[in-house]
Symmetry: C2
C-alpha cells in the first residue's frame, strides 16, 4: 500500500479535523473526496462496528439536487424504478441507467417535496449526466451539488446514541424514512439508513458550521457506549451483500445482472432513458449475475478484478473480497455466468497471488 498525496482536488470534509484527531490510518477517494477506510485495523473496526456504535464521515456521499417544476419528471427519466408512489419523507434506492441499461450509479433518492429531490450518490459524477439530460430535454429544473455532507451513526447502539443527541423521537423513525430533528436550534434532516447491516442513521449536515459541533456532541454523548470513529467496513459490507459501485458493478452491467431487478419497474417507469434496453433484459433475464462466493483461503486485498475460469474460458470475476473473522473464510462478491451460478458450484479464481477455489453461496452472510 502506498501513500496518498494530498491536494485540494481530493476534497477534505467538514469532519476531516475530527477524523484526523481520531487517528485515521487509511483513505480511499470517493467522488473526489476523502473517505476514511481504517482507524484501528479493518478487523478491529469490524468487531467494534458489530458490537458498539460508530460515527462515520461519509461526506463523499455527495448530493445531486433537483429543484423546480420538472424535478419529478427528471427523476423518473433517470431510473427504471417507478416513483409515482414516492412520498416526501421517503428514501428510495434507485438504480440509474444509461440508454443501454448500463448502471451509471446506484444512489438513494430522498424526496423533499414534489419539486425537490436529493440524490445521495455513489462514486461517479452523476451530476454531469443529470445536468446533461436536464439541459438537453429543456426540463424546468435546477440541478446542482449543494453543500451537504452526510454523517452516519452505525452499529447496534445507534438508536441509543442518536436519541441522546437528537431526542427520543428518533427511535420511532422507520427504515429509509427521514425526519427533521433539533440540534442547537437547527432542524437537521436525519434518515434511518447507512452503508452497513448493523442499523443506524445518516445525518444530512448542511454547510460546514454544524459539522464539528454535531461530531463532538456524538462523541461526548457516547462515551459510555464506547463510540468510535469508523467508516464503511470492507468485511462487514461484503458479508451483508452491500454492492459498491465501481467495485462490483459499472456501466458494463445492467441492474438485473447486479441482482437489482426488484428495483426496476420497467413496464411502468415511463420516460426512463434506459427503458427500451431494460425491457429486453427483463424479458430474457440476465446471463450473468452477482453472487456471494466463499473462499477458504486468506488472500491479498482484491485490488483488481479476479478472473473466474472454466479451463481457458473466463466465466466471471470477483470484484470484492475480505477475510471474515465471524465466518472463518474470505467472503467475496462476484459476477458469474448462468452456467456456473448455482449455489454449491466450485469456481477456480485467479488472484494476483495465484489460483484459489471458491464456492457459490445460497445467500450473503446475513
Amino acid at each position: 500500500m502506498a501513500m496518498l498525496s494530498p491536494s485540494r482536488r481530493l476534497r477534505r470534509t467538514p469532519f476531516s479535523q475530527g477524523v484526523e484527531a481520531q487517528g485515521v490510518k487509511g483513505y480511499t477517494i470517493y467522488n473526489h473526496m476523502l473517505l476514511p477506510t481504517v482507524f484501528e485495523s479493518v478487523e478491529a473496526d469490524y468487531r467494534h462496528l458489530k458490537d458498539h456504535v460508530q460515527v462515520w464521515d461519509v461526506s463523499c456521499e455527495r448530493q445531486v439536487e433537483l429543484r423546480g417544476p420538472d424535478a419529478m419528471r427528471l427523476m423518473q427519466t433517470l431510473t427504471p424504478r417507478d416513483l409515482r408512489g414516492m412520498l416526501p419523507g421517503q428514501c428510495l434506492y434507485v438504480p440509474i441507467v444509461d440508454e443501454t441499461g448500463g448502471m451509471l450509479n446506484d444512489p438513494v433518492a430522498v424526496k423533499i417535496s414534489d419539486e425537490r429531490f436529493w440524490i445521495s450518490i455513489a462514486d461517479s459524477d452523476l451530476l454531469l449526466w443529470v445536468k446533461g439530460i436536464a439541459n438537453a430535454y429543456r426540463f424546468e429544473v435546477i440541478v446542482d451539488e449543494p453543500d451537504i455532507s452526510p454523517l452516519a451513526i452505525q452499529g447496534p447502539k445507534s438508536d441509543e446514541l442518536a436519541a441522546r443527541v437528537f431526542g427520543e423521537d428518533i427511535r420511532t423513525l422507520r427504515f429509509f424514512r427521514y425526519g427533521y430533528f433539533h440540534f442547537e436550534g437547527h432542524d437537521v434532516l436525519i434518515a434511518r439508513s447507512g452503508f452497513s447491516k448493523q442499523g443506524g442513521f445518516e445525518i444530512y449536515v448542511e454547510g460546514t458550521d454544524l459539522g464539528m459541533p454535531i461530531w463532538d456532541a456524538l462523541f461526548e454523548a457516547g462515551k459510555d457506549l464506547n463510540v468510535r470513529a469508523g467508516c464503511p467496513n470492507g468485511i462487514e459490507r461484503v458479508e451483508g451483500g452491500l454492492l459498491s459501485y465501481g467495485n462490483d458493478m459499472n456501466r458494463d452491467n445492467t441492474p438485473h445482472e447486479c441482482g437489482l431487478g426488484r428495483f426496476c419497474n420497467t413496464q411502468t417507469a415511463m420516460g426512463c432513458v434506459g427503458r427500451d434496453a431494460l425491457l429486453r433484459v427483463a424479458k430474457d433475464g440476465p446471463i450473468r449475475q452477482i453472487r456471494p462466493i466463499a473462499i477458504k483461503d486468506r488472500i491479498a486485498p482484491c485490488d483488481r478484478a479476479w478472473s473466474i475460469m472454466d479451463r481457458d474460458r473466463k466465466i466471471g470475476q470477483i470484484t470484492s473480497a475480505a477475510w471474515s473473522p465471524d465466518f472463518d473464510c474470505t467472503v467475496a462478491i462476484g459476477m458469474v455466468r448462468m452456467t456456473h451460478w448455482d449455489p454449491g458450484t466450485e469456481l477456480r479464481i485467479e488472484t494476483q497471488e495465484g489460483p484459489v477455489t471458491g464456492i457459490v453461496q445460497e445467500q450473503f452472510w446475513i
Copy 2:
C-alpha cells in the same frame, strides 16, 4: 499523509507493474484510477525531470470517444472553441463548459477523422455529460470510454529516447500534432504533448498487451540517458502555469476566469451549450482570474483552498502551491479578484499553518 487503501474501484493500469517495480512512493486518484505522484522525492523527481527524461504512467487521462456522423457536431456542442479548422492529426486544448459557462473539464481533443474524436480528459466523469448531451439531442454518434492508456515521455532528452524506440521521424513531429509510429509490428498513435513544460510525447496505448513491452523498451533504450519513472510534478507544473482541473478550477469557474479566454471563440462556436452564458462573460470580462503568486515562506502542502483576505473580506484563494528549488520561493496558483490582481500586489494568505504573504507575479516561472 495517510495510506491509500487498494480496491478495484481505484483502477490499476497496464503499467502498474512497471510503476511498482520502479518503487512508486505515493499516488493520487484521477478519473477513478491510480496516478503516481512521487518516486524518489517530489524535489528529486523535479530535478531529474528538468535534466533528463522520464516515463509517466498517465493512463488516468482516460479517453471519451465520439464515433459517428454527428461526432463533429457533438464536439462543437461541448466547447466554445471554434473547431471548424481542426484537421485530422491535430490535438486541441478545449475547455468544456455547461449551460452556465462553468468548466466541466479541460481536456485535449484529438481528431482522428471527421467522424471520430478522442477527448483526453482531466479529472471528472466527462463521459456522463457527453453521453447525456448526445442522447438527449439524439445525435447520431456513439460515445464510449475506449481501452486506451496514455504513456508520456517527458524531459529534455525525450526526442532522443523516443527516436531510439519509435524511429527518427518522431523528431519532426510538431507540438500538439500526432502521427502513427511503429512498435513491434503495430502502428501506435503518438502526440507531441504532455503535462510538463520540459517537452515530450504522449503514446496512446490501446489495450493492455502492448503496455509493458513499450514500458520495458523505453527503459532498455534509455539506460545511458538516465531514464526514470516519473509523474506529473507538483513543483514543475505550478512553475509552468499548467492548471489542474479540480485543484485550480471547477464548475464554479468560467474559462475566462481561468485565463483560457484565448481558447474561446464564443462568437463563432455555434451550438456550444454554454454559448449564451459565455457571450455575456466575454463582453464584461471576468472579475476574478488565475494569477501566479510567489510566497517567500516554505509551507505545508496545499491540501485545501487557502483564502486570500483583505482585512475581513475574502478576495481570492490559492489552490496549488509548492516549494521551488530553482526559484527559491513557494510558487502558487490562485484566483484573485480584479481589485488585487495587478502584478506586485501584496496578498495576505490564510494557510492551515497560519497567515503568509504572497506577491502577484507578472507571469508564471517559465
